[in-house]
Each structure stands twice: as C-alpha cells, then as structure tokens.
Amino acid sequence: MQWTRDLARRCRALFRRPDEREMDEEIRLHIEMEAEENLRRGLSAEEARRRALAAFGRVEDIKDGVRDVRPVARVLGDLRRDSRVGFRSLRRQPVFSLAVLLTLGIGIGGNVAMLGVLDVVLFRSLPYPEPERLVLGRVTYGGEVGRTVSGPDFFDYRERADGLEALSAITPFPVEVTVTGTALPERVSAPLVSTGFFETLGVTPASGRGFTAAEGEPGGAPVAVLSHAYWQRSFGGDPDVVGSTIHLDAVPTTVVGVMPPGFRFLVDADLWRPIQRGTGWAAARQFHNFLLVGRLSPGVTLASAQGGVDLVSGRLEEAYPDTNEGKGLRLTPLREALAEGIRDPIRLLLAAVLLVLVVACANVAGLVVVRGSARRSEIAVRSVMGAGRGRLARQLLTESGLLALGASVVGIGIATWLQRGILVLLPLQTLGPLTAGLSPTMAGATAALALLALGLFGVLPALRVARSEPALELRSGTRATTGRRGVRLQSGLVVAQVAVTSVLVIVSGLLLRSFFELRSVDPGFDPTGLLTAEVALPSGSYEDATDRLRFFERLGREAATLPGVSAVGLVNRLPVRDGGDNVRVAPPEEWGAGGVFERVAYQRMVLPGYFEAMGIPLLAGRDVSRTDTREAPPVMLLSASLAEELSPAGDALGRVLAVDVGTDDPWTAEVVGIVGDVVPSSLAAGTGHAMYFAYGQRSPSSMRLAVRGRVDRAGITTGLRTLVASLDPDIPLTGVATMEEVLETSIADRRSVMTVLLAFAGVALLLAAVGLYGLMAYHVSRRVHEIGVRMALGASASGVAVSVVRRGLVLVGAGLVLAVPLSLVAGRLVGGMLFGVGGLDPWTYGGAAAFLAAVAGLACLLPARRAATIDPMEAFRAE
C-alpha cells in the first residue's frame, strides 16, 4: 500500500533527527567544491575559501533551515544544541556554576530530606492492612488528653463500645523480663498486650498462633509470642521453638508463635505476653498502664465510634465515681496520633530547612543577577548580530535548566544522606520499622523544588532578556554595568538572607541556651563517680519478700567491699533515669475527699544507705534502717518540697500519711525523715515531690544499684557482674551506665534536635556570608575606577576599606532589624521546646546579632582589602 508506506515514512521523518555528521560533511563538501571552483577562476587559495564561505552563508543558519523541515526533531535538536552551548558556558564559569549547584543542592536536599523523614515516619510506617481504620485510644481527664488507660477500663470499653471491630491494649513503656533456660540469662523487652492485639492490627504470626481468649483471663496458661528478630538472635531461628518452654522471670512459659519479620508496634519488643484480666498491671482502675489501639468497624466514622466510647465512659463514671470521675477515652486516627508526638521538632526543622531554601534561592538569585549583568553586553551584541530574542531567552533558560537539573542530582544525594542522619538522630516514635531511602515522594519533591528554583532564577532573567533593548544596553558603556535596579535587587536579596539567617541563628541560640540551662540543672544528688545498674529478681523464684530482702541486702553489703567502691545505694527507681510511679498522698483524714493537702508524689523503695551513696542530703530525722521490717510500724521519708507542702508549719516529722497503693485502702506510714529534693524523671521537668519507703516493708522485685567509686568503670562493672552471678547465676546485671551518661541520655533528644537545627543555621549562615561577600566583591570590582579617582584625590586606603565594610554592615543591620519581628514569632513558636530561657531572651538576641555582625564583617574584609589596595594608576589604565 503506497499511502501507508508514505505515512510511515513521514512519521519517521517527523521524529528523525537529520544526521548532524552527515549534514556537516555535505556542507563541507559544498564549500570545498565552491572553493575549488574559485581557485580555478584564478583566486588565491585563501580568497577562494573566504568567498566560498561567504557565498554559502552562515553554516548554522542552513543547518537550522534543514532542521526546520522537521518540527519535532527541530525542537529536540535545539534543546540539544542549547544544552551543549549552555554546558560550555557554565563550564567557562566553574565558580559560578559550582556555587549555584551546591547552594541549590543544599536547599533542595535539606527540604527533600525532611520530607523523606515525614514520609517514613508518617506514611510508610504503618505496615498494617487498612491502616486508615486504626485508631489510638488514650485516656482523657476532664476532656484533656492524657496517655495510658487502666486495665479494667480497657476491658469495659472492649466489651461494651459500639463501632469498634476490635480494641486492644499494650504497655507503651519498656517492660522487661529475665529469660532463663536458654544459654545465658537474658533481659528482654516483653510488653504486655491484650489477647486480640495481633488480630486488631491485622497481622498474623508467621508461625504458630496468637493468644486465645482464655489466655487473657486470670489463671490462663502463661504463653508468649516471639518477635522474628529475637527468635533469630536467641533461638537461631529454630523452627521447633513453637510449643517449647522458656522461663520468663522463672515462670515456665510456652512459646505459641513467632511474628513475621519487621512487625513492631510502638515499642521494640522481643516477645509479647498476654494481659490477664484483673491481675498485675491490669489490677485496678487507678493503674493506668495501657495504650489502646482499635480498628473501626467497616463504614463506621471516627465520630460515631467516639460516640460509642463516650457512652461507655459515662456509664463507668456513674459506676465508679471514685476512680472514673471526669475520665474518658479519646480515639484519634493512628497516623494523626503519631504525628502529634513529633510535631514540634519536625515543624521546627521543616521551617528551618524552608528558611535555608529561601536563603539558598536568594543567594542563587544574587549570583544570577551578577552574572546576568556581566553577560548583558554579550547578549546585547549577540542580539544585534541577529540572534532572535526568543532564541536568546531560550538559551538562558536552558542554562538555568541545566543548573536546576544538576542541583537536583546534588540535592538528592544530600537528601538521602541527611534523611538517614535525621532518622538516626531524632527521637521518633514510630510503629513500623524505619527504613530510609529515596521514595517517589522525595523524587517528586525534588523535581518540584528544582522547577520552582528554575522558575525563580531562570525564567525571570530570560524574560528580562526577551524584553531588553539591546541598543540601549550597548550605548550605556563599554564596561558591563548593572543598573541601579540590579544593585538594589541584589542588596535586597542580601538583606533578606541576613534576616532569614538571623532567625535561624536566634532560634538555634535559644535552643542552645536551653540545652545548657538544662545541663546545669542541679539534679539534687552528686552524679560524678556514680555507676548505675539494674538487678531484677524473677518473681517465680523470689516470691517471698524476705528472700528478696535478703538478696538485695547481701548484694549491697558485698558490693560495698569491691575495690574502689566507697558506697552502695539500692532503690527501685533512680532519679532522672527511671521516672514514673507517682501516686496520691494525703493526710489520712482527708483521704478520698480531694482536700487541700492531697498531692501526687513519686514513690521509691530504698535500702538503708541509699541517700548517703547518692549524695542526697538528709535534712531532718533518720534514714530507713534494717529494723524497719514488716513487723515494725511502716515508715517513710519525704522530699523537702513535699514535706513543705503537706506540713507548711514544718512539723512533718512524726506525722502519719496515707498513700495510694492501688488497693481499696491506702497504705499509711509515719514520716521519719526529710531528704533533699531530686529530679525524679526528666531534667526538663525539674525537681518533683518524692517519698521513700523502706524496702524491708515494701519490696519490689526489680532494684537499681547506685555504686559510688573511684576506680575505673570496667573494673567495678566486672566486679558487680561476678558478684551478682555468685549470688544467683540466673540473674543478669543489666543497664550498666554511669550517672553522667544517664544525665546525657535524658537530654539526648534535645541535643539531637538542636544539633540538626544548628547545622541548618550554620549552612544558612555560610550561604548568607557567601552572598554578602559576593555582593561586596562585586560592588568593589564595579567601582575600581571610582575608588581609584578617590584615592588619587587623597582618600586613605583605610578610609576606602572602612567605607566598604560600612556598606556591608548597613545591609546586615537592615537584615537584623527585619529579623527581630520574625524572631519574635519564631521564638513564640518554639516556646514549648525552650527551658529556662524566654522566647525573647535579650542575651540570645544580642549574641546572635553580634555573631552575625562579626561574620558579616569577615565576609566584607576581603573585598575591603581589595578596595584598599587599588592602585589609582592601574585603575585608570584599565579604562
């Protein structure tokens, strides 16, 4: 068929690019032949060739003409040619090109990295089927969202609330057990979960089964489900592990299943154990130990499920006014709940990278303005020589496009690296495994940012060229000059950069000060030379309180004899290191009445000598003693602030107080001593009320050691391990850390947010300094002639230098002034992350301003020196 062949050829022709080599060769052939003809006519060889070329016309034009025959091929060809020209032109200015690539790359990379972090944390971390139906259930007190729900309340919600297909509970804090019966006694993370936990999340065990309903009732057989990682690590992936028996805190427990690899919910778990209704941590309505996760029934909205839950809350309030007055349950979509926890740091860092991008764009725009003015006469000349404006604009656009493309590549590189760093550094609580890596979202964001940048610094100059009047440009002088508008634009860009950078520096400064304030908080004890560790007795083999007492008394006594050890303290929860366990305390006559003397305080069980070992001062009365046994009257010590509040008259010693221990009736004890305040949980929370009980009277199975000593940490650790093993080979010594490490860890989250932010601020500062330097250097180079005249007229070198620096500092000053209102807003936004310093801290503001001025001065110094060393004679000769 003739016409189909014809069509096919035409289609081919439409896209086929004329072979450039072939075209070149044909044209060369033509010119040679013309030249030979001219030679034959008797012209000189040179003249013959010149005329041949002239007759032919511009080679490029002809090639263009040939290409024009094919529309699509023409566009592609133009692009290729423009790219080649653009690439060459960029290579001719390596400093400019590199500066743009790096600056934009950093700006893009930072933002893409943060998006990547969000992506991982919020979107890729819900590895459960239909995650949009999952909700997190948290307790509310008078409408305020708290955190953990009590076990009995959970069981009531699970049984009575409509709209939820399933509801489950998990202990969201570290719960550990000692596993024995394997090679080495091992302390593992073993959260308690309700029996429907795996089913609620929609994940089935890889082998074996989950928990049966009977295993969640009192007296149910002790069972456990292992995590894949733990199964691999401690059981070598033994397929026969399901059905085998391991000992958890000396209780023989059957392994019933192994979860698939990567399964995780909120806490890292080595194994999961079922909560048994009404026992242990789920024993009482005032023990709030569980986070709930629910799955909405298909087609049920969050609001109607919340309605169902509220009904139950109302009924519980009526039935149990003592414990449930004002208490409720709030359902939040899981994704949203996750975002809450990291909102502040992520928002802060996101804002910071955006600001860095702004600075980067301003910097690049400044560079482009400088370069644009330098190229203006070049462009004007080309334009006069007949290059179309459209063509010139396209050329500029192509160059910018190449830069944007390069910057994207640099940006992606920076982003993947930075994303990993941030994920490691930031205190992110996520559900699934954290896997860094380039995602489609990140790639898309890169493309979008690159396009945005391209629009900002590529399209505008191109438009300017398209509109410009070449004749005017040429008439305005032989030297490349920037109009007043160019300089003003560039100065504006520098001012903007300084302003934005100042905000970052100020906010970083505020966080930095908070951090140091936090570090200088007096924890209430002497942390130097203090080693801490944990010893947990398996409840199965140490059921008797006197056995536990005997064990810990011996441990304390013998540890004190280890070489280099000067004192040993034993407590169930160490200050700073282990918060939690705060309960109500009140005078007995006010108990349950919510009187003015009711307080909430951290309760701690100690062995004699704890306060001395920790360096906590005993202010009045006595320490607990060996005679404070279960047979003797119960005793307690108060922290100074608690004693002050409970007995403002200062007569706390000798009083009897009631303490909530989860039973119907409170525990009552006599105050026998008052000790100094300590920071019970986090440094940021500061000192808190505490009360101490005698281990001889209240004896939990897990205790912490505080060992004060002078010799090396390794020596004492080994000594302790040997000692514990000699007392009971089935008990591991865990969590060995110096108190100073504990203090550092407690502020590590802040340190990492601060570190990332400081890095961003540093980058912005560097960019702004480079931008300022560029402007001043350019400013000086443009005024060489003028400065030369001035110096010839008697201006001193130092005077010239000062004028340059002054000019730079005026811009910085303007930027700083602009920064003040911005920082006030920013300071308010980060208020929640500050400690011991206000959002308007004048020292930080002043310090940041001085610092910026110093950096700016440095950035101006080189151009100023250059100005000062201008030789008037040379300046004139250059004309």
Partner: protein, 108 residues
C-alpha cells in the same frame, strides 16, 4: 530574478528537473541551476539544502554516498519514480501558471 524572488514551489520544481537530467550532489545541483538559467537563478544554499531534505522526506528524491572520480566522498541525489511523477505534475502546473501570467502580461 534575485534569489529571494524564487518562489518556494518553483525551487522544488527546478531541483526535480535538474535531477531528472542526471543524479547530482548538492553543490552540483546549485551549479547546474545557475548554468541552465544562464546565471539568472542563483539558488541560495540556505534554501537548497532544506529543500533537498524536504524532497527526500517526501520520497521524491533519494540520496546515497558515492565516491567521485577524484576519490572524494560525495552525497548524490537522484529522482525516485514518485519524484518523476511529481515532476510531470509540477511541470504541467508550472506551465499552466506561467502561461496564465504570460497571457495577462500580453493582454491588451
């Protein structure tokens, strides 16, 4: 007639015509047109090569690389059967067109 007056369609006709006489390379095509028109028509190379590529894309001419008598690689264009038919058509329409123009010029 200056080259800018050369009508677009007529250049195609001229190329097809000289290639009908014998296969030629690009330079020779322009040479031959000038020669045959007794130096009146001077084809601008800027039009010639685009026209050659256009005609080739339309399948009216074809090109191949040959070695000339002096041992030089040259690209020679020749008419295809379709080109031959097109030439007949073009020639007829050109004759009608120029005849019409002539008739108007001689009228009165």
């Amino acid at each position: 007639m200056s080259r800018s007056d050369l009508l677009q369609g007529s250049l195609d006709l001229l190329i097809l015509r000289v290639l009908e006489l014998e296969p030629l390379h690009g330079w020779a095509v322009s040479k031959r047109i000038r020669l045959l028109s007794k130096d009146v028509l001077d084809v601008n190379q800027g039009s010639l090569y685009p026209a050659l590529y256009r005609l080739r894309d339309r399948g009216l001419i074809e090109s191949e690389w040959q070695t000339s008598d002096e041992g030089r690689r040259i690209k020679v264009y020749h008419l295809t059967p379709r080109g031959r038919k097109a030439l007949v058509r073009e020639r007829r329409s050109w004759r009608r067109f120029s005849g019409a123009v002539e008739a108007i010029l001689q009228a009165g």
